[in-house]
């Protein structure tokens, strides 16, 4: 194989986030409509490398992926050693808005998976005017705990191994081995307690069941894409969101909880028509 660089550029962004100085790792590729991508709990932006490398997307979209604080190559804020990381709905919404503003994005499309697929529902509820469209991957109104998350952060259990073990079953059985194990590798590299801290939002604080009826997909187009094998964010949960918000929902065959990383090619086949519809609607509105 001859050596080659991928088109994505990675940089470190310094900004004040949630009232504290932060250093965030941000990757982007492409040009056009900004598409801000949100990774899953306990993972990082590498999950979206399939999109960053797909010209069918990057010819019309500026794909932007950031590692949340504490995740991937983003640092935790100074003083982290004296606190327990715990993600809340309020902080997560603020984080996305502040990063979007720092990058001077003009009404981006925001797309998130799992915790990202949940927080985009909060964005649709609280800030629909700030986004051109919203895409929820593996979105559900809530997920009740089905295991004790304290196993994810204790000194006598390897946090990375157990996190990967917990999520391994969420990958579709039909996923290619390379996508499956790369997805799990990201979990194995997560910082101590970070997955558990994200799950506080996912399983407790981020429940949006009682606000769904106040989301109106006519205010901001809302698209939901969920893998048929996802038993965490279930297809039933996604269809409930669609029914109560007017969102357009698609159940994706042969995909699980991590569509963009477990099987990028299959996922992009579902994503392209959505992105095309958003782009076409934008043109029609401008005409």
């Amino acid at each position: 194989m001859s050596p080659r660089f991928e088109p994505a550029i990675g940089r470190y962004l310094h900004l004040d986030l949630l009232g504290r100085p932060h250093r965030l790792y941000v990757e982007e590729a492409g040009q056009g409509i900004p598409l801000l991508c949100l990774h899953t709990a306990g993972s990082d932006g590498r999950q979206y490398r399939g999109l960053l490398n797909d010209e069918r997307i990057t010819k019309n979209y500026r794909v932007i992926v950031f590692d949340m604080p504490w995740h991937g190559k983003s640092s935790p804020p100074a003083g982290w050693e004296n606190e327990e990381y715990r993600l809340t709905s309020r902080d997560y919404v603020r984080m996305i808005l502040e990063i979007s503003a720092a990058l001077e994005l003009d009404r981006p499309v925001v797309m998130g998976c799992s915790i990202g697929g949940r927080i985009v529902l909060h964005l649709a509820h609280e800030h629909p005017e700030k986004f051109r469209a919203i895409v929820g991957l593996e979105s559900s109104p809530k997920v009740d705990p089905y295991y004790d998350t304290s196993w994810l952060h204790r000194p006598d259990v390897h946090g990375g191994e157990v996190s990967a073990g917990i999520v391994s079953g969420l990958v579709a059985p039909t996923a290619p081995d390379e996508g499956r194990w790369e997805t799990l590798w990201h979990y194995m590299q997560s910082g101590p307690g970070v997955f558990k801290g994200d799950l506080y939002f996912y399983m407790i604080d981020g429940d949006i069941s009682d606000k769904l009826d106040h989301i109106d997909a006519r205010r901001c187009p809302l698209y939901l894409l969920t893998g048929e094998y996802d038993y965490s964010c279930t297809t039933e949960g996604t269809l409930e969101v669609a029914r109560r918000t007017g969102a357009q929902a698609t159940i994706m065959k042969d995909l699980g909880h991590f569509p963009m990383s477990e099987n990028p090619e299959k996922f992009i086949g579902y994503l392209l028509p959505v992105l095309e519809e958003i782009r076409t609607a934008r043109k029609a509105n401008a005409a």
Binding site: G165, I166, L170, T235
Partner: protein, 119 residues
Amino acid sequence: MLDHLAARVNGDANLVRRGKHVTTTFLIAIDNADHLVSVAEGRITAIRPGPFITPNYSFALRASRDSWEKLWSPTPLPGFTDVFALVKKKLLRIEGDLHPFMSNLLYFKGVLAAGKAAA
């Protein structure tokens, strides 16, 4: 249902390597039929069918035959692809001292995957 489990696990060098720190006995219950599975350094050394008067094990995985068959189908249906999928549906219980299970979760998932029926 567990006829070929030991041979499949012990014949998978990568799985045995992943479990090299696992030495324990755990219990698999299929309906009311208990089986004690003994593991030494990642290799299954014995699978003993019950009934037992005083079974001695670290943790137990209990589910109906129907649930195990769905999990072990060559092409499991959505919702039946993983032990935690069954736990979430309250079709499988994990009991006892979970430390060996959780601290070697990928290994034990590999062991359970070895229980799949041949496609």
